[in-house]
């Protein structure tokens, strides 16, 4: 019987399909696969588009922060104004306030306009003088006080124009907006056009944006990121110093030495939970412990670093533990098999192999800490700081400072529209920092991995 059925030639079975034409179920599977691919491509496209729009907007707004309108004119440092006694006595010279210098600048500016043959038009002399940033007087005063030899000589002043003139050159201020603006008149804008032609007014690269300290609403044109950058750098270095040894040590202990019991389980769960705690909570913690209880100075980079360290530590521990766990057990076995002790296994084999992972985790943790704002607000780092902190070894970490993300936040909340571009500019600097750190992470990883 069985032989019969086996030898009887039968055609293709009903449920079998010829190879050339696919079945309906196969078509359905293919369609599902295709749809899934389309969803994926769409999701990636959407996120890329969002990213592109964000970067485009920030670059468009922020790039202008790196340019600044300046007025260039010769100025005779008049001894009658800056040093009435003529003794070049710094103490006596210091009595002259910026108001005197302001007058000096305005006079020199007007004189230069006149000699250049640029008509003032409807602009009064006072209004023309107000086109110079108030910041210029302060700078000139500082220059004179630091170098009294220039008194009586003619120097070339390269002063900031006010934020409105600056905005006009960048297209932010128009004649229509100037009509409604108490700080600028359309006539001043006309004069600016003429000065631009005469070469007195120019738009140039503004290195001061990266080096100057913050400035008030009165002179947005001179506000810079100097203090914020120093504060951020101090904080990152301190965070690295605080977290890396502690984090790595904790991870090694937990991974290699700790017995597996309910206590270590509890610690493990808590570390994971800590990583998920909102950052503002750390801010409150830092406020109560470091400032109120320990009495560390407010808005100092030390306190900021401590708070951010608390926040970053769980992340670093988790990354480090993952890196340590990723070291193949065969390596541990091999070392154990030839009689290496636990310490030797960890320091000769596990750590070097986990190093790229630890590095990457740490740098990425630091990078996310760099962008942290909320806890810094609570410990007063949002303060308006116009003086640079001193060097790190001179107690600079105790001096008031701000940080880049905080600077973005505080500028974004200011009323003067000139701060909008500066806020975006600060974001560009922050992104550049993050980019540098990420690239550093990749390079370090490569370097360590390339060894084998």
């Amino acid at each position: 019987m069985t032989q019969d059925t086996a030898t009887t030639p039968t055609g293709p079975r009903a449920d079998q399909h010829p190879l050339l034409s696919g079945s309906t179920s196969l078509r359905r599977r293919k369609a599902r696969e295709w749809r899934l691919k389309v969803y994926g491509v769409a999701a990636i496209g959407l996120s890329l588009a969002t990213l592109f729009v964000m970067i485009f907007t920030i670059l468009r707004d922020g790039s202008q922060a790196f340019y600044q309108a300046r007025l260039t004119f010769p100025l005779v440092v008049d001894a009658a104004i800056v040093d009435k006694e003529g003794a070049r006595d710094p103490a006596a010279m210091a009595k002259v306030t910026t108001v005197g210098y302001q007058r000096l600048l305005a006079q020199a500016f007007l004189a230069h306009i006149e000699t250049s043959g640029v008509p003032l038009g409807d602009v009064t002399e006072k209004e023309a003088g107000e086109m110079i940033s108030r910041d210029a007087a302060g700078r000139l005063r500082k220059q004179v006080l630091s170098d009294p030899a220039i008194v009586g000589q003619t120097i070339t002043v390269n002063a900031y124009a006010t934020g409105r003139i600056d905005g006009y050159l960048k297209g932010r201020v128009t004649r229509a907006s100037a009509e409604r603006d108490s700080l600028v008149t359309p006539a001043q804008l006309d004069l600016a056009d003429r000065l631009l032609q005469a070469g007195i007014l120019s738009l140039g690269f503004n290195s001061g944006f990266l080096t100057d300290p913050d400035a008030s609403d009165l002179r947005p044109e001179s506000a810079g990121l100097g203090v914020a950058i120093i504060g951020s750098v101090y904080m990152m270095v301190l965070v690295a110093i605080f977290t890396v040894p502690v984090g790595v040590a904790a991870s090694i202990y937990l991974e290699e030495f700790a017995p597996k019991n309910w206590l270590t389980d509890l610690i493990e769960v808590n570390i994971s939970n800590l990583a998920a705690v909102p950052s503002i909570v750390f801010g409150i913690l830092g406020l109560s412990i470091f400032i109120n209880f320990m009495g560390l100075p407010q808005s100092s980079s030390l306190v900021g670093a401590l708070v951010i360290s608390l926040m970053t530590l769980p992340t670093i521990i988790i990354a480090t533990r993952a890196a340590i766990r990723a070291v193949p057990p065969s390596i541990r076995d091999a070392a154990l098999g030839i009689g290496a002790s636990k310490m030797q296994i960890v320091f000769h084999h596990v750590l070097p192999l986990a190093m790229p992972g630890i590095m990457t985790g740490t740098i990425l943790g630091l990078a996310s800490a760099l962008g942290e704002t909320a806890p810094l607000l609570l410990i007063g780092m949002v303060a308006f700081v116009t003086t640079y902190p001193s060097g790190p070894l001179d107690g600079g970490i105790m001096d008031p400072a701000t940080a880049l993300p905080v600077q973005v936040y505080s500028w974004a909340s200011r009323s003067d529209p000139a701060f909008i571009e500066r806020s975006s500019g600060a974001i560009i600097v922050l992104l550049a920092f993050l980019l540098v750190m990420n690239v550093a992470a990749i390079l370090l990883r490569r370097r360590f991995e390339r060894r084998w």
Binding site: P328, D333, A334, A335, L336, G337, I338, G339, A340, W452
Partner: protein, 265 residues
């Protein structure tokens, strides 16, 4: 009969190197080894065969106290090496492992140079005082592992860049560089191709002149080829232990017979 010496098979050494008496191993609630008695002869290749989970690897790992690193493992019974109890609390397992080297299933060279791989053991055990001494130890170990001719021109090259068989021989060189007395091999050829396997087997046969070798293998043929004595484990019991030829031509226990003829797994 003197003609018997034509076939060199008989184990010349009959002195026992390692002795296990009534060894029991528990992994948590699992009784992995039940009352095992084995006397491992000096300068002999002893093979442990048996189906997966029969306890042969467990027993191997008892011999250099690798089970100490498994938290749930409990080892009972007496195990001696040259008459000394290796589970004596005064015995440091680190010291023991320098005397009882181990080679693993997967070739696992350190991600370091060939030289550093071999030199690592002697370094941590302080076997060499000068660089020249270390060089010599490395060269001797690589020669004993039949690898020297292949790698002598590239000692600084990474060990992970060698072929599978070379890596395994490098691991063997690394193990013998600490001049152990016993070499434990846990399925050393399971990740190798037949030619590399044959080379490692030939090496094992040569190592017999200097070391006591204990090898765990899934391949009965391998046990037959390389060992002088074979132990068959089944379900945590040591079923039969004897001269390899006898085990493979005329096993005493029906379970051994059934296993080596492919009737039970």
């Amino acid at each position: 009969m003197n003609v018997m010496t034509v076939v060199e098979r008989d184990v010349s050494e009959t002195r026992s190197k390692m002795d296990a008496r009534g060894v029991q191993v528990w992994y948590g609630d699992k009784h992995a080894l039940k009352d095992v008695d084995v006397a491992i002869l000096d300068r002999t290749v002893t093979a442990f065969i048996g189906p997966s989970g029969c306890g042969k690897s467990t027993f191997l790992r008892c011999l250099n106290r690798m089970n100490d690193t498994v938290a749930s493992a409990r080892v009972m019974g007496k195990m001696t090496m040259d008459g000394q109890d290796i589970y004596d609390p005064r015995v440091d397992p680190v010291q023991l492992r320098a005397k009882v080297g181990m080679v693993f299933q997967k070739p696992n060279p350190f991600p370091k140079s060939i030289y550093d791989n071999v030199a690592y053991g002697p370094k941590i055990h302080g076997l060499a005082r000068t660089k020249a001494e270390l060089d010599e130890i490395v060269e001797t170990a690589l020669k004993k592992a039949a690898l020297w001719n292949e790698v002598k021109d590239r000692l600084a090259a990474p060990g992970t860049g060698l072929s599978g068989g070379q890596q395994q021989r490098l691991c063997i060189a690394r193990a013998i560089a600490t001049s152990p007395e016993v070499l434990l091999m846990d399925e050393p050829c399971s990740a190798l191709d037949p030619i590399a396997t044959a080379q490692v087997e030939e090496l094992i046969d040569e190592l017999r002149a200097h070391f006591t070798v204990v090898i765990v293998t899934h391949s009965m043929q391998q046990a037959a080829r390389v060992s002088q004595r074979t132990a068959f484990f089944h379900l945590g019991n040591l079923v039969e232990y004897g001269e390899t030829g006898q085990i493979f031509t005329n096993p005493r226990d029906p379970r051994t017979e059934a296993y080596i003829t492919g009737r039970i797994g």
